[in-house]
């Protein structure tokens, strides 16, 4: 029996001790009418060898195309040590550190994680993770509504330059509490939220303004002006940031005069593989003033009976297992193992390394844009300072182009036509530090060929501006 250690003799001894004749008898409180006899739709057991064979086939089936998609998940180099350490049984198979004395490994690591996030974001405190970047933003919005004492409103300003999936997730999560998201448009020339367009809302009551940096188009928002506008209007500023970009960019804690109040984002770039979208982790940091409104676990440093330093879960009175219906969130299981990986990842890279990874991603994306815009008809939209993503407009239907590229094992970018039809045949492209010159060159060549073919077929349909 896979994973079950009992011998027949032991089962008999145990039943005898219990005073039951059979294992079945142990289920005698369950009404017979409920009992199940068969599981026909479930296949019979596979041995480890057989499932190994099957999974190897499945893994191969999807190929390993060269990836120029970012759009919320980024293909950064992960040092080999990260996962070799993270999967050590002591990290991998522990539970949430409820018994602090028997969990100092995880607890100290989480305290280090919080410290690293504080260093990176310039905020005062960090929690120990949420599910992912999108749900972290939803929690940040809920938190801002609770935390903003100046505001009685349940309205939050949400720029359209925030990742479309994030906006959906936020709406799905907060709408049941009657929170309203007010969308802010972006400047069609620059691709950023124009602080001027906020003017119309001056004097109105909003709990928070969300500020993405870089925004979904890869472009930099005027975070200082936006943060200051928020504060001038009694509104909290919530930053949504890319942690790798933060190695180079101004940390949210220093935006504007007073800094953002809350910041959150997707932790995936810090050591989580692309892996079909998860597990990743959301991070959430805030100013000291807001700490008691934070969702999720928080680890504190304290002393033991002998005065020795130790670490423990703290501020648990915010949490569901203590506060139940009055908790700051329902989150229980979080993304601990991913945070373990992220902490080791940041320790291995260090300040220097993270900066170099960020700079190389920045540079590679420039190279990619240069190579692709050399293809006739391809142009950059929003020619603004950007980090490692860019919007390109194609002279042929984006869907078809991307499909043809995929057939050549190049994932050419994220199709923007669904979420931003007003941009035409636009795609969002990305090149992390992992993309080589050769790969970029190959992409450009294939794109040229594909466009020639597709352009021929569809010419006239998509008038070149």
């Amino acid at each position: 029996m896979p994973f079950i250690p009992h011998t027949e003799d032991e089962v008999q001894e145990m039943l005898a001790a219990i005073g039951a004749a059979s294992i079945d008898e142990l289920f005698d409180e369950i009404p017979d009418s409920l009992k199940l006899s068969q599981l026909d739709a479930i296949p019979t057991a596979l041995s480890e060898m057989e499932i190994t064979h099957l999974m190897a086939k499945r893994a191969q089936q999807d190929g390993e195309p060269t990836c120029f998609i970012g759009a919320g998940a980024y293909d950064h180099h992960i040092p080999a040590a990260v996962w070799q350490l993270t999967t050590r049984g002591e990290f991998y198979t522990a539970y949430t550190p409820y018994q602090a004395e028997a969990s100092q490994g995880t607890l100290q690591l989480l305290y280090e994680f919080q410290s690293m996030m504080v260093a990176l974001t310039g905020m005062d405190v960090s929690n120990a993770s949420l599910y992912d970047g999108a749900s972290a933003l939803a929690e940040a919005v809920l938190m801002s509504v609770r935390a903003n004492r100046k505001s009685k409103s349940k309205r939050v300003l949400m720029p359209r330059t925030v990742h479309p999936a994030y906006r959906r997730v936020v709406r799905n999560i907060v709408k049941n509490q009657q929170i309203e998201l007010v969308e802010l448009p972006f400047d069609p020339q620059t691709g950023v939220t124009d602080p001027a367009c906020l003017a119309q809302y001056a004097g109105e009551d909003f709990a928070a303004l969300v500020i993405p940096q870089p925004n979904f188009f890869g472009v930099m928002e005027d975070v200082d002006a936006l943060t200051d506008w928020a504060h001038e209007n009694g509104t909290l500023a919530i930053g949504v940031v890319n942690p790798i970009a933060l190695a180079l960019l101004k940390p949210p804690g220093l935006w504007g005069e007073a800094g953002a109040d809350i910041c959150c984002g997707e932790g995936q770039p810090l050591g989580a593989p692309l892996a079909s979208g998860g597990p990743y982790f959301g991070f959430l940091c805030c100013k000291q003033a807001q700490v008691r409104q934070m969702p999720g676990r928080i680890i504190g440093r304290t002393l033991d009976l002998d005065g020795k330093v130790g670490y423990t879960l703290t501020l648990q009175a915010r949490e569901q297992h203590i506060r139940r219906s009055k908790a700051t969130s329902n989150i229980c299981t979080n993304q601990g193992l991913m945070v373990t990986a992220a902490t080791i990842h940041m320790a291995l890279l260090g300040t220097e390394g993270l900066e170099r990874a960020a700079a190389a991603s920045y540079q590679n994306t420039q190279k990619l844009v240069d190579a692709l815009t050399a293809v006739p008809g391809v142009e950059v939209l929003f020619d603004q300072p950007a980090f490692h993503e860019r919007v390109l407009r194609l002279p042929a239907p984006a869907k078809g182009v991307l499909r043809s590229l995929a057939a050549h094992n190049v994932l050419g970018g994220f199709d923007l036509s669904g979420d931003y039809p007003e941009l035409g045949d636009a795609i969002l492209v990305c090149a992390t530090e992992k993309r080589t010159d050769e790969e970029i060159e190959t992409y450009a060549q294939k794109l040229e060929r594909v466009i020639q073919l597709q352009g021929g077929v569809t010419c006239g349909l998509v008038p070149k501006e």
């Binding site: 409920l34 296949p43 019979t44 522990a94 504080v118 997730v169 299981t333 373990t340 700079a359 540079q363």
Partner: protein, 484 residues
């Protein structure tokens, strides 16, 4: 020592990043950071040594018996880890087209189908990221269902007093009020009390069965009938599914929606706090509202079901498809169990729990529900010891650590005083259970002879008992560089 305390500015001992630093001066200064982030600067070896040593300060399933009730700390098969980490799987971008995702999607689809079968629900969505998010999805679906019918007066969710904290917290996140239902003296829900409070304001009830009291609610069919007749829906908290896997199906019990904790029943690792996965299954009437994405099969081809195909869906709850890597691990585990393995999970976890309960009783401990069968877990109460010896549940728990066992769940459910909720799981062998029982017996002796010994525990761990009050009062939540 913290990793920060091993840091030296100017150390560049890494082969990890690109070797050279690219020029970023084209980014306008207003956007750039002026001071580098103070991450630790250590060598690769320092990092490896530091985190290797840290890991050794943890208890874990791979090193200790970890009978944490309600958490199903069973063995996490190593194959699930290595196979879910195959290069072709970890390199797949979440936005990769379906043409380059058929292998991955096949796993998801088959997992949906297996979960459907074993829970007896009509359809399954895998996307919620953990149990609590599964609960959110479930209650949001209940809300969407009532709303769609214009049945908008239903503003209350019922939950037994034994419910896990996520249940009421979730109901509130979904905009509901929560009303607690008391538990009867036999551990089952007090049906009369339930009947007294259901009504047109009832949106639904959140239940676990077996409950967090470690007993199977025998009146579940009557409860279902009561709630359904009042127009409410039944939510099943699947945290305890291990107890009945392949033996009884929540669908058969009459539940309308269920979440599963794959990180419990399907043995994906807990990772020191996560990640998990909380798929939801529903009865016919809730299908339109299932969260997206899901996977459908059309002929030989797998396709994504998104907001476009499901306009009434409660939508997506994470940016992509939830905790995909956890789903893959659960899929692999489920295939290794197969149809023959699933009921065995329930059988042997129940056998282990009932054996432990009996043996602990025989060495002098009180069961909270002595007249009941244990399910996969059970509660003992140390009320007597606390009163007579002044040694409470937490003291027992800490002393167990010295004996090399992780403590069971303490002080939950709240309604049983001085309780230990003990869940051995099916993957532990008899000898380990016997050792644990021995340790409990021996601590009981210590508590009688020398209570201070037990109250001062633990003694053999990296730290002694920690000052939680100080931690909460004098908040120290992040290391700060010492300014010289």
């Amino acid at each position: 020592m913290l990793i920060f305390e091993q840091s030296k500015p100017g150390r560049k001992a890494t082969a990890q990043a690109p070797l050279n630093r690219a020029d970023v001066s084209a980014i306008p200064e207003q956007f750039r950071r002026k001071q580098s982030a103070a991450l630790p600067e250590v060598s690769e070896m320092q990092a490896v040594r530091h985190y290797t040593r840290l890991s050794r300060k943890n208890f874990s399933i791979d090193t200790q018996f970890y009978p944490l009730g309600s958490c199903t700390m069973k063995y996490n098969p190593r194959a699930c880890n290595s196979l879910a980490s195959l290069p072709g799987l970890v390199s797949r971008h979440p936005q990769a087209p379906a043409s380059h995702s058929q292998g991955f999607m096949a796993c998801l689809f088959e997992l949906q189908e297996m979960l459907r079968e074993v829970t007896g629900m009509k359809a399954v969505s895998l996307s919620p990221a953990a149990g609590a998010q599964g609960e959110f999805a479930g209650v949001a679906m209940i809300r969407a269902y009532h709303d769609a019918r214009g049945d908008t007066a239903r503003c209350e969710i019922l939950a037994p007093d034994a419910a896990h904290g996520t249940n009421p917290a979730t109901a509130v996140m979904c905009g509901y009020k929560v009303r607690e239902i008391p538990t009867g003296p036999d551990g089952d829900v007090d049906l009369e009390a339930l009947k007294a409070v259901v009504g047109p304001q009832t949106a639904g009830i959140m239940l676990t069965n077996p409950s967090t009291l470690g007993v199977f609610d025998r009146k579940i069919e009557a409860i279902a009938k009561t709630v359904h007749e009042a127009g409410g829906l039944l939510y099943y908290d699947g945290a305890n599914l291990n107890a009945i896997l392949g033996k009884v199906r929540p669908g058969t019990m009459g539940f309308d929606v269920i979440h599963m904790n794959l990180h419990k029943t399907f043995s994906t690792p807990h990772g020191g706090g996560g990640p998990g996965a909380g798929p939801v299954g529903v009865s016919e009437r809730l299908i339109p509202y299932l969260p997206v994405p899901m996977v459908a099969k059309d002929g030989d081809e797998y396709q994504w079901i998104t907001e476009n195909e499901r306009p009434e869906s409660i939508g997506r709850l994470t940016a992509f498809a939830g905790n995909a890597g956890v789903l893959l691990r659960a899929y692999i585990y489920a295939r290794m169990l197969g149809r023959e393995g699933m009921p065995r999970v329930a059988e042997y976890s129940t056998l282990n729990a009932n054996y432990m309960l009996k043996q602990l009783q025989s060495v002098g401990f009180q069961a909270a529900y002595p007249q009941r069968r244990a399910t996969h877990e059970f509660i003992i109460t140390l009320k007597k010891q606390a009163k007579e010896l002044g040694v409470n549940t937490m003291d027992f728990a800490k002393r167990l650590l010295d004996y090399g066992f992780h403590a069971p769940t303490t002080y939950f459910p709240l309604l049983v005083p001085e309780c230990l909720l003990i869940e051995p799981t099916e993957t532990e062998d008899k000898a380990t259970l016997d050792d644990f029982i021995d340790a409990m017996r021996s601590i009981l002796e210590e508590a009688t002879v020398d209570p201070e010994l037990v109250k001062g525990a633990p003694y053999t761990l990296p730290v002694k008992r920690l000052d939680d009050v100080k931690a909460a009062r004098e908040l120290d939540l992040a290391w700060m560089p010492v300014v010289e």
